[in-house]
């Protein structure tokens, strides 16, 4: 049987391909017919990061004929702990340039299409159109809702995977008889509630596990083997090595795929989620614009000059204790109160004393300032660039992370 309509009519396997795919060809249920379907199939990967890495490599190796990848990023040292498409020497290169070469190296028969741009409501449908299957390996909520909505509107399966620290989720959305992401999560979480990998950390091997499971689901959809994850949500916890599964069903009240849909066109997903979709986004969380609280920025150079001049400046570090262990400004007298504890421990702070608030790059510290100002704190500075900026520009003996 087949879950999606992929025709292998007229597709032939060369002698070289027969040899390459022999372990699939002798596998009952896949066989020559399944391998031809793989060759005839096209898959679009959203994101070439932790999930996208194993996806691209295994789908290429498996013989998927056409692989598209959407990602605008460049390779960074912090990617190497889990994004196995990239080598140390690739740092600084565009991800897609490296990914395309890597895929071609694994399987020269694969056609690789690269989309070196952020996925947006304007380009999503156009980019999705030629592909049989969409695979969601993105790293943020606005893009997840966008991928879901565009997949449903175009009637394409969305092989969903998402990770957090030690845990992962897997499902297949957008099938005619199954739910979509919005059936499960009609509303995005409030900004700040769910940390990203950059904020919360992630076990390096976790996207390897979840990404390969997504690849398995895609291959099953193409070849018609087994039972796809439609109507099921897998919850994987690497710390306990536990697999939990929940039976799902379409939500008849879903605004996208329910009985009376109200979302019929792609929307502005950054506004919907109240957060930017990517680092280069110009989206500014509405909370900031609406609030009259202006966060004063102190440049790294200014802080250095003032410390060098012997000024007794208080530096409040609002990161988590395990981040403090990686790097800190304790030699300049900084002290730690994690962002989530600041209001609880507000009594330890003197609202009249000038204070520089600092985190990793400057985002959380700005949030803390917005929390403190209404409590009478009027002499706060946000360290522009955070400790990573300090470590890059001022004191290179401090590691960045």
């Amino acid at each position: 049987m087949s879950f999606i309509n992929i025709s292998a009519d007229g597709v032939e396997l060369s002698t070289e391909e027969v040899k390459r795919y022999s372990r699939h060809l002798i596998l009952p249920d896949v066989g020559v017919e399944g391998q031809k379907k793989l060759k005839a199939s096209s898959v679009l990967l959203i994101g070439a990061g932790g999930l996208g890495s194993p996806l691209a490599m295994y789908l290429a190796a498996a013989g998927v004929g056409r692989i598209g990848i959407v990602d605008y990023d460049t390779v960074d040292f912090t990617n190497l702990q889990r994004q196995v498409l990239y080598s140390t020497e690739d740092v600084g290169k565009t991800k897609l340039e490296v990914a395309a070469a890597r895929i071609k190296g694994i399987n020269p028969f694969a056609q690789v299409d690269t989309y070196n741009e952020p996925l947006t409501s304007y380009n999503a449908k156009k980019i999705f159109a030629p592909y049989d299957i969409i695979i969601d390996g993105t790293d943020n909520f606005p893009t997840r809702y966008l991928v879901n909505d565009a997949s449903v509107m175009l009637g394409k399966p969305n092989v969903y995977g998402s990770i957090f620290r030690f845990e992962g989720q897997l499902s297949v959305f957008g099938m005619p008889d199954g739910p979509c992401y919005r059936c499960l999560y009609p509303e995005p979480p409030p900004p700040g509630l769910v940390p990203s990998c950059a904020e919360g950390g992630v076990l390096g091997v976790l996207p390897g596990i979840v990404g390969t499971m997504q690849a398995a689901e895609a291959i099953k959809l193409i070849t018609g083997v087994g039972t796809p994850m439609t109507n099921r949500l897998l919850l994987f916890d690497a710390s306990e090595m536990e697999f939990n599964e929940m039976r799902l069903r379409k939500n008849p009240n879903c605004v996208l795929c329910g009985d009376n849909p109200t979302v019929t066109e792609l929307i502005d997903y950054e506004v919907f989620c109240g957060m930017p979709a990517h680092d280069h986004s110009t989206y500014n969380n509405g909370v900031v614009e609406e609030s009259d609280i202006e966060v004063r920025q102190m440049s790294l150079q200014t802080l250095k000059s003032r410390l060098d001049a012997g000024e007794d400046l208080l530096i409040l570090d609002v990161r988590e204790p395990h981040e403090w262990e990686i790097s800190n400004l304790s030699n300049h007298g900084s002290f730690l109160i994690p962002k989530g504890k600041v209001l609880e421990r507000i009594a330890e702070l003197d609202p009249n004393v000038e204070m520089v608030v600092q985190c990793r790059t400057g985002g959380r510290s700005a949030d803390v300032i917005r929390q403190l100002v209404p409590h009478g704190f009027n002499n706060l500075w946000n360290l522009d660039g955070g400790i990573n900026g300090w470590a890059t520009e001022i004191d290179t003996s401090i590691p960045t992370y």
């Binding site: 994101g47 990061g49 932790g50 999930l51 996208g52 969601d136 390996g137 993105t138 790293d139 943020n140 909520f141 997840r144 995977g161 998402s162 990770i163 957090f164 620290r165 845990e167 989720q169 499960l184 999560y185 509303e187 995005p188 979480p189 409030p190 509630l193 769910v194 940390p195 990203s196 990998c197 919360g200 992630v202 996207p207 949500l233 919850l235 916890d237 306990e240 939990n244 599964e245 929940m246 039976r247 799902l248 069903r249 939500n251």
Partner: protein, 79 residues
């Protein structure tokens, strides 16, 4: 009643499960209110989570009793 918590909820609670004293059948919405009174920090995450009752997709109107297994799966976005 044993309530299983995942991802951010597990981190906030410091444990993968919490015990709630549930005497009579109630809706998931009422259960969320009760948990929120005892553990206020969990409330925001609970209200945006997928809920399962005995491993079946449930919603705020689903009825639960002391013998049911209730789990909350908050959204996660990493990739």
């Amino acid at each position: 009643m044993k309530i299983k918590l995942f991802a951010t909820l597990k981190e906030t609670a410091g444990s993968g499960s919490i015990e709630m004293d549930v005497q009579e059948t109630m809706t998931v919405a009422a259960l969320v209110e009760q948990i929120g009174r005892q553990f206020p920090a969990l409330k925001p995450g609970l209200t945006v989570s997928v809920v399962s009752v005995n491993r079946d997709f449930a919603d705020m109107s689903t009825l639960v009793g002391a013998a049911d297994e209730v789990a909350f799966f908050p959204p996660v976005s990493g990739g």
